[in-house]
Each structure stands twice: as C-alpha cells, then as structure tokens.
Symmetry: C2
Subunit: 176 residues, 2 copies
C-alpha cells in the first residue's frame, strides 16, 4: 500500500494518535487505511457416505485437493458465501447445515468457516478454479494430496464424528 | 475509493474478466482492490450473576450501552481479539470461553462473534471508547438504551439460557 485511495497522496506507515498499531495513514486528507482479517467460507459437501473435493486449478496449492471455499463477499451471510463458493468451484447445489470448523489463521490474517452441507443431488463438475471435482469415500481420500491443513483437519474430524453421529463445531487456532 | 493504492492511478469500478462482481480496478498497474466483510469480535463478560456493559463514548450510538467488541486485527485469533477489545473498552481481564453468538450483518459487511467470558476479578473501568463501564444484573439491564440489536439478542439469549444452564452458540443472520 503506497498511495491514499481517497486522494492519491503518498502514505506513511505509523501509529495514529490514540491507536496502538501502525496503520497506513494519509497526512494530506487524514484517511486511515485499516487492514483486517478476511473470512474464508466454504462447505464440506456430503452425498451418502462420500465427500466432494475439488482439485485446485489455481495457486496456492494448484493440483491439490480441497473443500470448496473462498473469500466471503460484502452483502452476503456466511452461509450464503459457503453455498456460493460451492457452486462456483464445484457447480454443486447444497443445503448448508451447521458450522463445522471455525479456524483462526493469524499468520495470514484469515478466519475460515466450513459448514457441513448436503448435496441436493449428485450433480457437480469443475468450475473455473477447479481441475476436477469428485466424490470420495473415507478410504479414497487423497490424504497426501490435500491442499491445506484446515482441509485435512475438517475431513479427519468428519470421519471420526461420523462414527458417533455427532458433529460438534470445532474451534481451532492455527498459531505458528 | 478513488485512486490505486499501489500506483496512484484513478480507479474504475467494473467487473473484472472472469469475475461476476464489480471491483475497484486499476487499468494502469492491473491491481484489483477487493473489499470484504470485517469481523467484529467481543465478549459477554460475566461476574457472578451480572454482565459487564460499556456506555459508548464514540459514534455510532454514542451514549448507549454495549458489550465490549470491535474490529478484529490482522495477526490475532478471534478469541484474542475478543479479549483485547474487552481490555481496551472496559479495562477488564477475562477468560474467554465458548463462542456464543455468530451474526452475519450483510447490509454493513460485518460478521460479529461474541464469546462468553468470565471476569478474572471484578475490576474494570472505562477505556477511551467508553463513558462508563458497569455490572448489571438481569433486572438492571437498560434494555431501551442498548446500542445494537446484536447486543440485545446476545443478552436476551444469555438470561434465557442461564435458566437452563445451557449456552448453545446462536447463529443469526440479520438480513433486512
């Protein structure tokens, strides 16, 4: 961040009066440009005993498998964002259920929310950000080819929880 | 948003290739300036049978009572943000417990997360964004002087749930 988005003046990075953290400040118009964590919303889409995964067509972790998820947009709810991302990445319609994992990722300024979801029918295909989309049973999950630790966490919890038919929300802080 | 924060060129607001929503675009350097929802993190701080509220010293809703909460910062977890806001607004130290309300506010691009919290001791005072900080029992809550519907929701659920000693997370979409 180099220039003020309001007036185009060069920015400085310092602690504003009354604040405790450095911010991008404009000494010309007085604007403070805050940067805050972003929400990643997605689903763990289920059909019978299988889970839908997407092979990523884009960086990061291109070619690895993930659950459909992406940046929440202004103007939508967390559940609507989760359903939209599932449609965009897997062309799959889902009924979004309970929040399943809520993961803070402070190092990268993200909070990820994955919801359990039921496929409305077993119809799906690769959206523009996916190379392939496929249903996997537990013994077919490509554990060594998953894109992110948040995804393997959610899948491990899911298959464990399924044995007890009890799916509590997991609250996870990935601090490293 | 008028100018590119990377190169200071004037921005346009249009749908980028391969996207479905208008964004602030720089035709000079190619930067896309996304705008995403922000997370408000806070607590419902409890001491014995009372809840700690703060009278707001700042807009919006100056002079109305609220639970301590504010914008989550990069580099922290949701629980750490909730504890920090409680310290900043009420100079109160808390043990942050379970997530209690998770509210989507799509009209204003916010997701609010309020955690149940226990005051470590009954020591508190007004931080710079508060006029007063006070413990209230159920029959003392100033229901007509609460700052936000998310706060009255959380307090109503809390006093209801206390009768059953069961405090499930409430997932709320405030769509209007």
């Amino acid at each position: 961040m180099n220039f003020c988005s309001q007036c185009a003046h060069p920015l400085v990075f310092e602690v504003p009066a009354g604040d405790e953290r450095p911010r991008y400040l404009c000494k010309a118009c007085g604007a403070i440009h805050y940067q805050n964590p972003k929400i990643i919303a997605g689903t763990l889409p289920i059909w019978q005993d299988k889970v839908l995964l997407c092979k990523r067509a884009i960086a990061p972790r291109q070619g690895y498998w993930t659950l459909p998820a992406g940046f929440m947009e202004n103007g939508e709810t967390t559940k609507a964002a989760a359903a939209r991302e599932t449609w965009e990445e897997a062309l799959a319609e889902v009924n979004v259920g309970e929040l399943y994992t809520l993961t803070s990722l402070p190092r990268i300024g993200q909070v990820q929310m994955l919801y359990l979801a039921e496929l409305i029918e077993p119809t799906f295909s690769a959206g523009p950000e996916s190379l392939e989309v496929e249903l996997f049973s537990e013994d077919e999950i490509p554990w060594d080819e998953l894109a992110f630790v948040t995804i393997s966490n959610a899948l491990r919890h899911y298959f464990d929880d399924r044995r007890n038919n009890h799916f509590p929300t997991r609250h996870i802080d990935l601090v490293d």
